[in-house]
């Protein structure tokens, strides 16, 4: 692994001097989007003050730059963006982790993580960097896991999941995104013999515990962290189970899950429900969990065939779940799973929630602002933001939206 600092000092200085730079760093950490699906891994932004409607032609474009292949989403901490992409290094096709100036899109550094993976539906890394303090955790398609310094991309430690946990490289490549919780780094090890899931010491990379027997090859589902009865819980789908484990690596509960590739992350419905959805004909399920004196019971509240998240996860807002039923954007009721509205034409898009809106990116690069309401599909603005296949969900931080395709990255100002 090699860190490639690109004018590191000058870039950092330049970023700080940019007009927007001071604003970017001035806002607090709560406005960061430090990992896959945002601060709480739920696709929900707490930002306010966004435009309620976009002008003709869409929101103001701040910058646009080329980017190598990959579906890795964009993490934001302070005035820096972090993502992964494929490219060439010393004549080899590789996957990079990279940092960019949020204000300009200038690349600050990039570090080779591992070999590039090519697949029939798009090449490059899938996993999204997780930023914690001065460290960014990255995972390459072939299982190269590394902790890099946010300052310059220098590796602090690294290992291969395949070697440490005995896991196999899944068909689409290692795709999950690690979760930092306190001193622990939670990730799918993907290995046999009790090494399906793992917690590492986030500072050293040493294994604290492993858990579970998963399927023969790792999945594509990243864990969420929830609190039930004040206790931390990690919830995820792997193989034929919806699993919940505690921070000691003990199973709290599990529930049967239709086998298939489940990519979409579960959604926590406070105080005690979990929504999970999968494609390949699986559909969605809402379960209610009761924990009492060390005993947990799981009850299916409802199931529906009419919300089949594929690789795009759903978001929850005021009693409704908004998400893509394969290629149809829908709002369904948390109460009974019934469809409130449905809209086709956005393909296999992705979405996040912010400030009363859904920010939706179609699979062909059309960006839309919608009212987050069960009353109906209400467009409040749109722009053709990117060309080509867009399967990566938007990122929002400090009023700025960041999008990527297989060849470009772009930033918009959503505050006007």
């Amino acid at each position: 692994m090699m860190a490639i600092s690109r004018h590191a000092w000058s870039a950092t200085l330049a970023a700080a001097l940019l007009a927007g730079g001071a604003t970017l760093v001035a806002e607090t950490a709560e406005h960061d989007w430090p990992q896959f699906r945002g601060p709480n891994r739920d696709g929900v932004s707490t930002e306010t003050g966004l435009l309620d409607a976009w002008p003709e032609g869409g929101p103001k474009e701040l910058w646009r730059r080329p980017l190598g292949e990959g579906y890795s989403a964009i993490a934001v901490v302070g005035d820096r963006l972090y993502t992964m992409y494929a490219g060439e290094h010393d004549g080899e096709a590789v996957e990079f982790a990279a940092a960019f100036a949020a204000g300009s899109g200038e690349e600050l550094w990039r570090t080779v993580v591992g070999k590039k993976k090519d697949t029939e539906f798009g090449n490059g890394p899938r996993s999204t960097p997780t930023v914690d303090g001065d460290t960014v955790y990255v995972l390459g398609s072939f299982g190269d896991f590394a902790a890099l310094a946010t300052a310059d991309g220098e590796p602090r430690w690294r290992f291969k999941l395949t070697e440490r946990f005995g896991s196999r490289v899944p068909h689409w490549g290692f795709s999950t995104s690690a979760l930092v919780d306190g001193e622990l780094l939670i990730l799918e090890g993907g290995g046999p013999e009790g090494k399906s899931y793992a917690a590492l010491d986030k500072r050293t990379g040493e294994v604290r515990w492993t858990f579970g027997d998963g399927p023969p090859e790792p999945g594509y589902n990243s864990p969420i962290r929830v609190e039930m009865n004040g206790e931390p819980r990690y919830v995820y789908v792997v193989g034929d189970k919806l699993n919940c484990i505690d921070d000691k690596g003990n199973e709290v509960w599990s529930h049967p899950w239709p086998r298939g590739e489940t990519h979409a992350m579960p959604v926590f419905v406070p105080p005690n429900k979990i929504f999970a959805s999968g494609a390949e004909g699986v559909g969605a399920m809402l379960v209610a969990v009761s924990e009492n004196g060390g005993e947990a019971t799981v009850e299916e509240v409802w199931k529906t065939r009419f919300m089949k998240n594929h690789f795009s996860s759903s978001v929850l807002h005021e009693g409704y779940i908004y998400g893509f039923d394969n290629a149809t954007l829908k709002a369904i009721s948390v109460a009974d799973g019934e469809t409130a509205w449905a809209k086709r034409g956005l393909g296999k898009g992705s979405l996040i929630y912010a400030d009363g809106h859904l920010i939706v990116l179609s699979d062909r690069g059309k960006l839309l602002l919608l009212a987050a309401t069960p009353e109906g599909y209400v467009e409040q603005g749109s722009v053709q933001a990117l060309d080509g296949r867009c399967w990566t969900a938007p990122t929002l931080s400090r009023g700025r939206l960041y999008l990527r395709s297989q060849s470009e990255m772009v930033s918009y100002d959503l505050r006007g």
């Binding site: 004909g281 009419f306 009974d336 409130a340 449905a342 393909g347």
Partner: protein, 405 residues
Amino acid sequence: MIERKTTLVLTLLLAALPAAATTERQAGGMTAEEVIEKHVAARGGREAWAKIRSLKITGDFTAFSKVSPFTLHRKRAGDAVLYHLDHKLGDKLVVVGYDGETYWWDNRWFQEGAQAIKGADLAVVERDAEMTTPFFDYREKGHKVKLAGAVTIDGLETLALELERADGSRETWYLDPETYLEVARDSPASDFGRPAEQRTYYDDFRRVGEVVMPFFVESQWYTRDRVMAIAEVEINPEIDDELFRMPLPIGMGPLRALAGTFEVAVASRQQPGAPLEESQRRSTIVSLLGGGLLEERYATADGNQVVRTLSYDRYRKRYQLTQINDATTLLDVQRGDFDDQGRLVLTNLDTGTPLEMFGLTIHERCSIQDVTEQGFTLIRELSIDGGESWFEAEKSVYARSDDGG
């Protein structure tokens, strides 16, 4: 959820009532036939559609979230509708056709070259190829239709028609109860050959000439999403039937003229320098396996039965000839390719199947040359020195039979 509940309620209602009475109640007093007539009228009517002898449709096709142009042709040929769709699925070319006999595709997700479509894929393409919805001529085709009442599709109330095709397969169509145009259809699907069920949505209906058709067709199943966005429709363009013909498998195109019935003039000898013995026979070469194999069966002048095949090995990129007769029962395999003079030259020098006789190892070389629509020439040569030298053992001149066999 809504769909499931509604369907369940209706199913229970249907079960409790006599069929004919049920259909009348479900459609506000209309029978299935009346609903179908309204649907046919909404699409322009049977007469208007009957005037359409061919269609050329162009636009954009989206698969795997990638957009690329498509061109679709349909042409009536008697009761059949010939079909040709040239499009891409993601990055890969897929050409689909029906030539009146065979549904075929050249699907680069599987392999290059045309193949007959089978299994779950066939059911999908058969439906895609149709000129109109199946309700236009459902009686003539032996289909059965039943009203299934009101069903909500993505928040839109629809009128459901259950169709049982003559082959027993079932699908459900959902019509707009105001316009009687189709909203959606549930039908068999295929995901890379695995049977599935797809829902196809129809939007953006426009009048083209005297008929009405959807300009936006989207199909979803499994994790797939396919969108056909039509830009232009040309009615009754001239289309050569050749467009629809199933291409021969890879490598077999140059051998197309070898199929047929021939009068064969044979000149042969047993050893070098011996006088040529002339004979005449009749031979039919049959194209099998979708054109992937040519097979010839004939009897020699001395009564031996011979079976000969010719094919192309796409993986090793070589032609392959096999021949066997009832005298030796040795299956001889020869491999080769076209030379720079346009002759297809095959030998068994490296196939391990030479004839072992009289203490000799006898290799054979076959050359197919002078190929025209009227015939071709096959020369068989033998070698007893491992291919150092060859003598012409047989020359067969194939002349296409006037009676066509």
